[in-house]
Structures are given as structure tokens and as C-alpha cells.
């Protein structure tokens, strides 16, 4: 069991990295990765919301929707749950944890429409994971997002001094840099299964 959980966790970070391999959450990846501290803040908020959302949506699906033949309501229920959850967290954080709110608060509204969060809640259901596995998968996806953001903010820093052709300035060269970063993650394919000897 522990080996399987570890495999899920590390494969979400390295092999199936949400941003660089599965293309989920590209907007914040390109938009908020310019500075290291905002990249870390955004990622922390994403990890938090992903874990929280999955721990709420998984029981809702398993105990409420699936037994009553309402599985088709999955999309609409999940997005509303996530939207409400993000609002609640924001209000609670503002009142009880002002320092944390100061650090993460600005990123929270951006996360409602982040496809990575909805993506992880849907994909753990599709994969047929149990509750603990789902939670590990969600945290792994969030940490993978953090790794990609932090790595890429370093790349962006170097990119600022580069002088690409005029038409490549701005987003295009950033996308090409993302392509090379993504290429480096391709090297992890197949590694994880062998380390944990799970096939």
C-alpha cells in the first residue's frame, strides 16, 4: 500500500506532472511564474485547495451521487462545490488567519476557474482511487505544480535578459522555454514504476 501511495505521489510530480505533461493549469503557470515568491504563493494555494476540494468531492461522489444514479451530475456538482469551497476558505482565512490570508489570499479567487483543481477531482474518480489514494494524488498534483512553477520561474528570470527575435518577444519565447522544460520532464517516464517495483 505504502509503495503504491508513494508511486502515485511521485508519478504525479515527475511523470504525469499536471502542468508540463498533462497541460492542466497553464494560465497560472504562464501568468504567475514571473517571480519566485508569487510562484510559491500561488502553488501553496493550489496544493491547499486541491487537497481540500478532493477530500470534499470524493465523498460526495462516492456516497451521494454514484449510489443514487446521479453520476452524470458530476461536472456541475464538482465545479459548484469548488467555487463555494474557495469562497468559504477565503472568508474563514480572512477572519481567523490574517497572516496566511495575506500570503495566499490574493491567489484564492484565481483558483476557482483553475482547470487543474477541477481536473484532479474528476481524474481521481476516473482512476477509481480510494479516499487516501485520491488525497495523495491531489497533494502530489499540487506539489508537481509547485515544482514546475519554481523551476520555470528560474527559467523566466534568465529569459528576461535574453534578446529573442522581435516576433518571439514575450509569450512565444516563454512557450518555447516551457517546451524545453517539459522536454526535461520526459526523461522521468518509466522511472517511477521501476523504483517502486509496481507495475
Amino acid at each position: 500500500m505504502a509503495a503504491k501511495l508513494a508511486m502515485i505521489f511521485f508519478s504525479m510530480i515527475l511523470v504525469n506532472n499536471y502542468v508540463l505533461v498533462q497541460f492542466l493549469g497553464i494560465c497560472p503557470f504562464l501568468g504567475v511564474s514571473k517571480k519566485l515568491d508569487s510562484a510559491v504563493g500561488m502553488s501553496a494555494a493550489v496544493i491547499f485547495v486541491m487537497a481540500l476540494a478532493t477530500s470534499v468531492t470524493w465523498p460526495i461522489y462516492t456516497f451521494l451521487l454514484a449510489p443514487n444514479g446521479l453520476a452524470y451530475l458530476q461536472t456541475i456538482v464538482f465545479i459548484l462545490v469548488i467555487a463555494v469551497l474557495v469562497q468559504l476558505v477565503e472568508i474563514a482565512m480572512k477572519k481567523y488567519m490574517p497572516p496566511l490570508y495575506k500570503a495566499l489570499g490574493v491567489y484564492l479567487p484565481l483558483i476557482t476557474t483553475n482547470c487543474a483543481v477541477l481536473g484532479v477531482t474528476i481524474s481521481v474518480i476516473d482512476e477509481g482511487y480510494g479516499f487516501v489514494e485520491s488525497l495523495v494524488c491531489a497533494v502530489g498534483a499540487g506539489v508537481g505544480f509547485l515544482v514546475a512553477m519554481v523551476l520555470f520561474s528560474g527559467v523566466r528570470k534568465r529569459l528576461e535578459d535574453a534578446q529573442p527575435p522581435k516576433c518571439f518577444e514575450g509569450l512565444p519565447i516563454t512557450l518555447v522555454a516551457a517546451s524545453i522544460t517539459s522536454l526535461s520532464f520526459m526523461g522521468f517516464g518509466g522511472v517511477i514504476e521501476n523504483i517502486f517495483a509496481v507495475h
Binding site: F23, V106, L118
Partner: protein
Amino acid sequence: MREKLKVFSNGLLKENPSLRLVLGTCPTLAVTTLAVNGLGMGLAATFVLVCSNIAISALRRVIPDKVRLPAYITVIATFVTVLQMLVKAFVPALDSALGIFLPLIVVNCIILGRAEMFASKHSVGLSALDGLGMGLGFTGTLVVMGSIRELLGAGTLFGVQIMPEFVDPMTLFITPPGGFFVFGVLMALVIWIEIKTDNRKRRSIGCEGCPSAAVCGGKCPETAQGGEA
């Protein structure tokens, strides 16, 4: 009539959602490994976009301003659920090809963005045209992306062998890095044309068109510093 034509053609080129407004980046990169998948994804998004634009425009005087975003999300999620059922029933191959990106149309920024920026302010007819134009512009970009990646990565186009046998397919193009690369080069090409025709558009990922901007009021750190991606 001129106005209607303008609204419709706006999304095709002038405000092409993927290449000029930089919205809906995730599906643009993820599903374009084959041209036919790009076409399917584009048409699916167009369906939702047209339906949600019509519904939101028709309800624009009923929905209170304060809860408009949750209301929009509910309307969009409803149409996505309808779409999921239709696709599962009639085109199961597309359902398995798009996988998780079919339900994720809910959080596609193009749809919420058009609801917020256009449908909530214009009549039903114009909103439908806007949705159609934007959707087809999105579809066009996806098909172009998919064609380039399929042609270079697999040597085929819509499943038909195009490249001669002795040209080895460059598999890299149908892998994730290839997606980023083709999108980057395609965008550079569009900017090159813009520079030549002297109407460069400032691109930013962040608040322009980001539906969350209505919630955070443009306070997110990147734009506060005039962030440009």
C-alpha cells in the same frame, strides 16, 4: 447587418481567442495531437459557447449582479453536462480521445470570458453570433495546431498518410514539449504578421479576459505591476 457581420468575424481573426486573446490555452495544447481531435474539441467548445451565450444573454436582466459568476458557471456546467451525454452517446471515440478535457470545458476561460464580456451586455442574437465566431476561431486554431503536430509527428493528416514513407515522423511533435513548441512558434508567426501589418496586439496572461478578474478586481500581483507574460 454590418454590425452582425463584424461581431461574427471578430472572433475568427481580430480577437481570435487562442492566438490573440490567449484564452483556453490548456485544451489548445493538450488535445491537438491529432487534427481530428482538435476539430472535435473546437466544435464541442463552440456548442457550449453558443448555448451559454444565448442563455446568459436571455437571462441578463434576471441574474443579480452580485451572484452573476456562480450563475454563469451553473449555466455553463449544465450545457457541458448535456454535451458530455451527447458525445458519449453519439461519438464515443471523441469522448475517449478528449478524456478529461471534455468536462473541463466548464473552466475554459473563453466561455466564462465571453459570458462576462459580451453576453451579459448584448442581445440574444448578437451573443449567439459572437459565440459562433469565437467558437469557430478557436476551432480554426485547434485544427491548424493539430494539423501541424499530426503532419510532423505522425506523417498523417486527419488519418491520411501525407508524408512520403522515407521521411521519418518526428514523434516529438505529438508529445507535450511539441505542443508548447508549436504553439509558441505559431504565436510568433501571428505576431510577425501583426508587426508587418502594423497592428501589434499586447498579449498578457492574467487579467485581460480572465473571468476571475471580476472577483479579484485586477488585484492579482502580476497585473498590479503591469504584468505581461
